[in-house]
Symmetry: D3
Subunit: 241 residues, 6 copies
């Protein structure tokens, strides 16, 4: 049940205590993919995961609106990237989660589309779970789906958008994307990433080869992500808080 | 130009210094209208206003993603209403605006769909404009459009959604909406509103009569809102910062 | 009962749960009126309103000391204007109110003499009322008294000071005040005030014509303000918290 | 020059860079002395010290309005005591000082009437002096005047009010004040004060014997305080910032 | 050069711009190992890494004092565990780093002994590097040394303390440690760790088998950690900030 | 019982509710004494005081790890001095104390080696004691021990280090220390210290004559400090919270 399309009486009558909150980012994804990739994928996975869980368990989770701006200062060198500070992100998402729990949706999964948000979500969900009378956990789909080449705006994300919104991939700029891409994320020495901003290691903003990601792969990855989320919802629903 | 659908290279190549940031809310709008009304209207007005301005001035503003959670604790008694604290809202929107200005979009209009956000937006835009090297202003369409009965989930907002997303208005609950509606917002004594939470003066969450708002009125109001926004953009573009 | 002139045993023996906290500002009021206008009027109205309420209801509210510095950065271009940030103002007034409620004065009206403080007072009183075991409301006399030309350092405020402290109005500078005055507050386009600082629209700091405000008008306006406050106190005293 | 009675043009035309900011407290001073003692003394000393300095140096400092609520939680057990947290006090006074320095009054002395404020004023003045382009120092008159029995609401403060506002001392409650008074402030073991709240060591709120403080002593002490302040102003005016 | 044993003139005369700041934790490490494990290892590795780098490059880094309390609320169920909030930890370490950079030690490596601190250190070092005129990076030795069974108070940490301070390992409690140990850290479903507190998955506080960690292994691991740190210092010293 | 050397099971089995938290500083102590003086003395006094109390009362207090960075910006002109802001220091120490109280060590003495920390410790211990279900107090040894010439890096501190770690005093720089020393701390006018940074009144960083402090004096002073602490622990143990 999408909260933004429901009425308050629908929310009142909902018989679940599960809620999902999609969190994305508006940040560079190369010259070929839109700034909204992370929000689009987070929202798609949240919706699909909720549906899958609902079908299997006769319990329809609430899906909140998608938070569109995250922790993306690392991409500040690339135009159009939006970001807030870590502190502000944690407060904004945490308080939104707490307003969900106020209404009795007190088992919440934050569905995350951006790697840079993951630790902050872990921290804020811990705060909610330890201090309040609710349980919250983050779900970052890269950490769930078994795929070796996530990169950034690489095969996985490009494939996902090709599946969800094919018109948003600019085929004519794929070569430019590839030409300026990095093989891996960051500059590593002795287990430490020395880079704070992504333009220090990628010219086009891309990590990995977006040519490897077609719509079929996208469907497959998103399907696996929805499946993982459904499993997580099951565990969260059963868990002693 | 919608930022979430554009690439960073599109943003780099944009020749404007104008950006719009739609800000809504996820909050009760009666038993007949969706929780997302304020986000939907803010986004629609931002897009239409940007288009109108672009047509007239050959200068296409950037339109950022829609911030979906605002200052709506006043509706906390109604299920599904989401909110963050005033401090967190101000920080989240201000920092998002500042990330726009980082890229040279340094004349920003925050397009607001929720009355409860208006003063906070005024405050944060003042902070950006006084302390930084940018100019920001808020635009709350209720304050621009000449209409006497805005209310809450009343004729104006119901009409707007009937125009934008008619399927989201539940006709079969209009009577319930009306039966529990208030005539005016708040409890006023000597120029002071004594009420902090809306359930102290409206049973259904509604203020005003939603039956008075058909799609034609919605179109007219949104058109006026877009026109007002276009005028404001013109003033912001010309203004000495 | 003025708190600053009472002893703690007087406060202990007071039989009321009503307290008033006057809040003013130290900010420019043109070349003819003192920087302390807003504090002087807030204190006078609080005292007179408390007296009027006490006479009518046999219940004498406590009147706290006058907070003299508010949110007045908008006047920073005019010498001698003092201000604190919005955050600090909200914290200072809120915590002062909370210390009143600690002693059982748990129905508090913040009596405000400066328009720029009004929204912040609304926000902090909401915080006290929602989170604590007390009720607080703000009273800004401009919003209560029926008068068309409040302006700034214009007829109303000049009249009020002529009545309260006639020696503080500099008659020999009234012409200078008028010559540099604005007709209205701000620079408005499409319902939005584009101005953040008052020197962008008034040269002398004045809005309105101070020549229109004599002591008799001042007495009349302050009398109406005290009457409005007394009504508000009655409503606050009776209200279910 | 009292800022609250001056106009902005007076402030503009002032030829000094010295400003004084009186800071008091609204807190219990026994059953015989008013809650406003610390604000009254701070204001009186600031005014007298400024006059004395002006007479001697042909340089008239600005005197700001008196901040009436300080760090007085220690007296919370006594009715009518107002307080804010240390953080909020520091922010409020610091930002007020910074608004003075904005106008070029960049040598500021905070004149303090309450012992509990002293360390916080030292801290905030250090912040202003280290981080900004201004110099600020605190002046707590107990630390300047040579007198052995300051106590609290004891001989010194009672004497000061007898001199300034004799009608505010309740002679008929002096016996009650004495009966419940402590000999010294706090509960000391090995150089540490174990007490946080004053009601753990004084029943009437008084420390010292208020009978020892007549108006003549008050005049003498306040005179010495004004003299000390004048000396301090001279040092602050001459100091390399 | 250990800062705590040096004088300020030694620091003044140091010819390096490299500084190390060891950060540990005081938290449960099973019934057999001391609460100070993470501080002891961080300090030992920082010192050894600095020495190794100094030997190779004729440039002796400064080694700051060891910060002994970190982000360890996860172990709050185990007595004696100390912790501060994430916000406070980030501020304390960041400001300490900034005071190092104030003196010209503007290439700083924070040497971390506790996994729970790692992300916070990454965040704060990013803040220092992006906003200031310095470069900082975190070094968590578990991420550098190639070893499969770090666990918690398991083979690696037990071995390290056996090497550094053998008297602090309680051999007579190893069985108790093992009996209550977990095989792995956390409760994982679909890539998400559902556990916030460690007592939900380990009874003795231990993860892994401490019997597998003798002093020889400890020496080897710490040696590898020092070598990794020396490599990192070299990269940090050469890096364009 | 030193917490860092104990296991969590030792902490669990401890039968005391008393804990000590040593807090020092890393700051200049002249050319002859190490930057770590305040941490070394705080730790030594805490340990000795705890032992003395344990011997006398059959109750062994917990001794936490030593916090090594305090409020020392005043010495920023001298290389190697580390510091954090007052706010951060208060938060870090307060939260550490609160984690001690979480485990039932709810009578805490913060043993302080640096004068600049004293007021902040008083403030944070007041916060813990008033708001929580615990009691905390600060112990600054200079305030307890009867000695006239504490100064800074002068006779007392130099003597203490000569006793504790004689190898850390650089005899060959004593003359340099003396040559640049001040007689007293600060620049005083009318009871106000005008100086914020110590380099404005001491060239070598020293106040007092370090030649007057031999190891015997150090032993005597530290012995007195331990005795005072033991007395304080007794009072804290007996006190009604």
């Amino acid at each position: 049940m999408r909260l933004d399309e429901s009425t308050w009486t629908d929310a009142r009558d909902a018989e679940t205590d599960l809620a999902l909150l999609p969190v994305g980012s508006t940040e560079q994804h190369g010259p070929h993919a839109p700034l909204g990739v992370d929000s689009l994928t987070a929202e798609a996975i949240a919706t699909a995961g909720a549906d899958r869980y609902a079908d299997a368990h006769d319990d329809e989770p609430i899906v909140g609106p998608t938070i569109p701006v995250g922790i993306a200062e690392e991409h500040r060198a690339f135009d159009g990237t939006l970001w807030v500070s870590e502190d502000t992100f944690r407060a904004y998402v945490r308080e939104t989660v707490e307003s969900l729990t106020h209404h009795g949706f007190d088992r919440v999964v934050v569905v995350n589309g951006h790697g840079g948000n993951a630790e902050a979500i872990r921290e804020l969900c811990g705060r909610v779970s330890r201090d309040g009378d609710a349980y919250a956990a983050g779900y970052t789909w890269f950490d769930s789906v078994d795929f070796d080449e996530f990169g950034h705006a690489g095969p996985a994300e490009t494939a996902a958008i090709r599946h969800l919104h094919p018109e948003l991939i600019r085929d004519d700029r794929i070569d430019e994307a590839v030409a300026g891409a990095a093989d891996g994320w960051g500059e590593w020495v002795a287990g430490t990433n020395l880079a704070y901003d992504s333009d220090s290691f990628t010219q086009s903003g891309v990590v990995g080869d977006p040519r490897d990601g077609d719509a079929a792969l996208g469907e497959e990855l998103l399907d696996a992500a929805a499946e993982g989320l459904s499993e997580l919802l099951d565990a969260v629903a059963r868990r002693d808080r």
